[in-house]
Amino acid sequence: MTDEQTPELPADLVALLADDAVWEDLDRNVTEDTIAAVMAEVAEAAPSTPKPELPPPTAPVIDLESRRRPQWSSALLGAAAALLLAVGGFVVLNAVSSADDDPSDISFALEATDLEPTAAGNVDLTTTPNGTRIVLETTGLPPAPEGTYYEAWLRTGPDFGVSAGTFHLRGGGGVEIELWAGVSFEDFPLFTVTLQPVGMTESSGQVVLLARLDG
């Protein structure tokens, strides 16, 4: 092939070739630091690595263990995972448990997604005459970067949800976070926590924790 047969390339791209930004080599130290940072994440996420413990809470702790029922079936979780994979590639990894027979009081574990694989959490939902009270505890969930925040949702599914409130954990976390929602988990049985950029009103779809509460 001769130059005359060479395919076309826009002039603005040709002009970029004179910009040193497209030529500058990555500093060797940056390369090594980056590899080290990724490998530190890998090590932290390794199964043998214990998850970080929460420091002592500053508010009274609800004893979730004493109120849990036996774990729900793996079939339920499989169905939830299939639903989520169909819309966003989320993965339900673990079990969900509920409280006593009174459906107005339910506790369950939240599971991580690939976005924050070391995160975990527990949620206590209580239906009150004034709305659904949500008490959330998390471990391994980093502070939301400036310009972002976490938002909890009660959803009917991937397409529709109601915000239950927001938080950022930039105070260090380790506390119970109390949120409220104006809908019932019986009608909105998918619970998610998303990372939201400031200014976005709808869900970003960046789910970091989730659980499904229905059968």
Binding site: M1, T2, D3, E4, T6, P7, E8, L9, P10, A11, D12, L13, V14, L16, L17, A18, D19, D20, A21, V22, W23, E24, D25, L26, D27, N29, V30, T31, D33, T34, I35, A37, V38, M39, E41, V42, A45, A46, G89, V91, D114, L115, E116, P117, P145, E146, G147, T148
Partner: protein, 197 residues
């Protein structure tokens, strides 16, 4: 990057992590510079965060899907987040509307820069060197030949092959008409010179 390498990256294999960073780190840094500016510390932070986030999210990367656009989107979002954080006032007692809006290069432009960088990184080293000396340093084919100690015909052939590879790698940018041909990617200062095409 081969699918197997992506799977190994996802699994946390250090050699795959190294391959990923060495292969794509330059392009990620280019995107970072285009958004956060020339601060080496900021660029380094964006590069590091980008690959950490990429590893965290690697499970969501569908097998066989090109890694470059996915990595680009993470890099751009990371750079904008850093820029927004640094421009945001750090003291309280200010109204939200006083926060400085982040005005960065358009997504289209940063995508172009990223793609050009990826295309350049895909060139063989000898062809990349000739393109750099020609387009960035403004050297003529004669100067390049003297500098490298090779015949001028070798410089011309390397340059021609490089242009064709770039045109192929960036063919999705080629418009139906009114574009420069790769033959017009002539070195900036060789028109009329003894070694012009």
């Amino acid at each position: 990057m081969e699918p197997d390498a992506v799977a190994r990256f996802r699994a946390g294999d250090e050699s795959a992590v190294r391959e990923m960073v060495e292969r794509h780190g330059g392009a990620v840094a280019t995107v970072a510079r285009s958004i956060v500016g020339r601060s080496q510390d900021d660029v380094a932070e964006v590069v590091q965060q980008t690959f950490v986030k990429a590893w965290r999210a690697a499970g969501s990367l569908e097998p066989g899907r090109p890694i470059q656009p996915w990595l680009y989107s993470i890099a751009r979002r990371t750079a904008i987040d850093l820029l927004r954080r640094e421009r945001r006032p750090t003291t309280g007692d200010h109204a939200p509307e006083q926060d400085i809006a982040v005005e960065s290069m358009t997504m289209e432009r940063t995508q172009e820069i990223y793609d050009v960088r990826q295309a350049l990184d895909g060139l063989p080293a000898d062809e990349r060197e000739v393109m750099k000396m020609s387009h960035l340093m403004g050297m003529t084919h004669t100067d390049i030949a003297e500098q490298l100690g090779v015949p001028i015909g070798t410089v011309k052939s390397r340059s021609g092959r490089a242009k064709r590879r770039l045109a192929a790698a960036l063919s999705h940018y080629a418009p139906e008409s009114s574009a420069m041909t790769a033959n017009q990617m002539g070195e900036r200062n060789v028109q009329g010179g003894e070694d012009s095409q």
